[in-house]
Amino acid sequence: MTALEASRHSRPVRINALLVAGAVILALVALAAVFAPLLSAWPPTRIDHLSFLEPPGPGHLFGTDSNGMDVYSRVLHAARIDLGVAVAAVALAVTVGTLVGLIVGYIGGWADELTMRGLDVVQAFPVFILALTVVAFLGNSIPTLVLAIGLINAPPYARMMRAEVRSLREHIFVEAAECAGNSRTSIMFRHLLPNALTPILVIAPLNCGWAILMLAGLSFVGLGVTVPQAEWGAMISAGAADIVGGRWWTTIFPGTALFITVLGFNLVGEGLQQITGRRR
């Protein structure tokens, strides 16, 4: 029995505390991203020539960085890039991975063998090194970052989807669908896909957390988003030198924002897993 079917068997959906907590966090971060210009007095890239590395105070809530930019405004605006890139990259990964897994899982044979061995090769490289290489080749614009992070995260989805489809296609309803005159495409998309999607949708939010960390990591080593654009990883990287001088605010605030956002994604993922897992 699939998890989704099991979930329909159960009593009215019990609200999961982790899921709610995660969703609230993510909603707040998303609101902060959308209304960033309204929430901050300073534009994120405007330089305050009177204050460099000023500690948090009434003028600049989170202080200013070594370029004289307002840390509070930058932390809010960075949420736009971080959330946007992460969600877009994971959406890309889910789409590509699901399609590949669905098709090779259903067709099987040498296409399946070949694809799986190809994925083996890709997955043999450490993920971060792979991302570095791709970005180094394609340049570090936002679209290439989405592409790099998305494609690198796709293989696990392809594997998961393939495994689901391979077990699903042994069910009689697939044979029944063929007898009812469905084409291969229609069997894949109308009959197999809806039954195979649950585990993918549970993993996706967790993956968004990893995607943000990867983006921040790339920015930290200078291959992601660069100053003056506001991005948490880049901000931490730029502020790293300030810590030695006791100027903690340039790194702590973006770091905390990063932590809270990843926590939100993880809570949502964990919550979804509990809901579907408990009823399995």
């Binding site: 699939t2 989704l4 009689i172 309803f173 669908a177 063929e178 009812a180 005159g181 084409s183 039954n195």
Partner: protein, 543 residues
């Protein structure tokens, strides 16, 4: 004489999230040593709950009242070591689904040895020898070789024998077999039941057989107990319960058994018997290719037959005989190695997948597992309308078509929005049949349409099929392992064994004058409840 097993006033209530379920209500049951007692009833009636109470394997949150005594010992009060002894040498339960109950990572011999050693029934030195002895006792051929094999290397019948050996390992006083014949075909069912019944030894051991299949176990049981929704509605000697049932539920169970003596009612013979056949299969071979140059498995060899419009044809054989392969080849679900399958003038044996799709407007199939044949994410409406996608049809014409198909199988429109988990097995099979009928095909293949259902539901579905076949405008192929179910339904029968046609002919002449030993064996194995059949019961005790 005090009975071996004495259950009195047993009630079991289980606290679940949805409230308390009263699984058993004031049940009384007695089994003497040397006696074979059959416990029958439909699934969900609480039969397995009784077995689980006797071996104390109830769910955690169950409340038990009443008394269970085995050999003078109060079973419900047993603890720790006493309970362990009870489960080994007291009452041994042989679980249903033998293959799933065996550990797939250990050889079957090791599993019996484990049991022997755990209960100090053998020393490490003689354990293997004892196990081989047990395997011989339960009729496993070549027991020494089976010892080192894994469950997946054995057939269903062999796994069941291993399970029986496991249960017998500690020489229990009471042997309980829970649905021992589910998944076995008719001839094997008879053998296994005889083996189980033979374990009853006067003064030593009693046997309790739990089954939903009254007809199958009646032959080997001394007494029958009938359970309905947790209540014991009737107990008595087999002949009395079957001959003069006192409770309506018992009568319903008996009436549901397909009667092999029931002849097909007189009907106008199919109008077009001399016209062109709807389906013509000639010299069909199906060989499953094996990897790496090993010999392929020849599933079907040299099968030829014709099917005319309005005719109902039965394909009968034991499991593994190739009948499912044959029906799948006819439906174009697998490609034959050689031969022709001509459906309405088109040979689909060599047709591209895309072109076979066109033929599906005219030929449809109903499957053995009614629940699994329905997509869990789709509503009944979506499922039944699935084949309609093959024809161009305006949206407003679909709904009436679907409702008409549902009413043809006896389902009201309120089922349209339901999903498969909201359907019973019988309702699910009706939906499956509706899906096959919605396009009004010329031929429908019914692959064991009732073998996964409870007996009373089986009877209802067979009735439905009988009504459908009475309309003489469509050809049906009914695949079955059970001759009794096809006699009253089919015009002609093909008996298939080892992938070949062993015999084919008009139903009545085949039943009255079988010419092949395969047919004779199938006829002999078919369950029947007539008095003469029951008088055979006594010799069943001889192993």
């Amino acid at each position: 004489m005090t009975p071996l097993l004495d259950i009195a006033d047993l009630s079991v209530a289980i606290d679940g999230a949805d409230g308390t379920v009263r699984a058993l209500e004031k049940v009384a049951l007695r089994v003497d040593a040397g006696e074979v007692v059959g416990l029958v009833g439909e699934s969900g009636g609480g039969k397995s709950m009784i077995a689980r109470t006797i071996v104390r394997l109830l769910p955690e949150r169950s409340r038990v009242t009443g008394s269970v005594t085995l050999d003078g010992r109060d079973v419900l009060g047993l603890r720790d070591d006493d309970l362990r002894d009870h489960r080994g040498g007291g009452a041994a339960l042989c679980f249903q689904a033998p293959r799933a109950s065996l550990n797939p990572t250990r050889t079957v011999g090791r599993q019996v040895v484990d049991r022997l050693l755990a209960h100090d029934q053998a020393t490490p030195e003689d354990a293997r020898q004892r196990t081989v002895g047990l395997f011989t006792e339960v009729g496993l051929r070549d027991p020494d070789r089976q010892f080192d094999r894994f469950p997946h290397e054995l057939s269903g019948g062999m796994c069941q024998r291993v399970m029986i050996a496991l249960a017998l390992a500690c020489r229990p006083r009471l042997f309980i077999a829970d649905e021992p014949t589910t998944g076995l075909d008719v001839t094997l069912t008879g053998e296994i039941l005889k083996l189980i019944a033979a374990q009853a030894v006067p003064g030593e051991r009693g046997v309790l057989i739990i089954s939903h299949d009254l007809a199958a176990i009646a032959r080997v049981c001394d007494r029958i107990a009938v359970l309905e929704s947790g209540r014991m509605v009737e107990t008595g000697p087999t002949v009395q319960v079957l001959g003069a049932p006192s409770h309506p539920y018992t009568r319903k169970l008996i009436a549901a058994v397909p009667d092999i003596a029931r002849v097909r009612e007189a009907m106008a013979s199919p109008a077009t018997a001399n016209g062109d056949p709807v389906l013509s299969v000639s010299n069909l071979d199906v060989v499953y290719r094996a990897r790496f140059g090993r010999h392929g498995l020849r599933a079907i060899s040299d099968v030829s037959f014709n099917l005319h419009a309005g005719e109902t044809l039965a394909i009968v054989g034991e499991s593994g005989s190739g009948k499912s392969t044959l029906s799948r080849a006819i439906m174009g679900l697998l490609r034959p190695t050689a031969g022709r399958i001509v459906f309405e003038g088109t040979d689909l044996a060599h047709l591209a997948r895309r072109d076979i799709r066109d033929l599906r407007k005219r030929m449809q199939m109903v499957f053995q597992d009614p629940i699994d044949a329905l997509n869990p994410r789709m509503s009944v409406e979506q499922i039944v309308s699935d084949p309609l996608r093959l024809v161009k049809m305006p949206a407003h014409e679909r709904r009436p078509r679907i409702e008409a198909a549902l009413s043809e199988v006896g389902l009201e429109p309120k089922f349209l929005g339901r999903h498969r988990h909201e359907l019973s097995g019988g309702q699910a099979q009706r939906v499956g049949i509706a899906r096959a009928l919605v396009l009004d095909p010329a031929m429908v293949v019914l692959d064991e349409p009732t073998s996964a259902l409870d007996v009373t539901i089986q009877a209802q579905i067979l009735d439905l099929i009988r009504q459908l076949t009475r309309r003489r405008d469509r050809a049906y192929i009914m695949v079955s392992h059970d001759l009794a179910t096809v006699r009253a339904l089919c015009d002609r029968v093909i008996v298939i064994a080892d992938g070949r046609i062993a015999e084919q002919g008009e139903t009545e002449s085949l039943f009255t004058r079988p010419s092949s030993p395969v047919t004779e064996a199938l006829l002999a194995a078919a369950p029947r409840l007539s008095p003469e059949a029951l008088s055979m019961k006594k010799d069943a005790h001889v192993p």
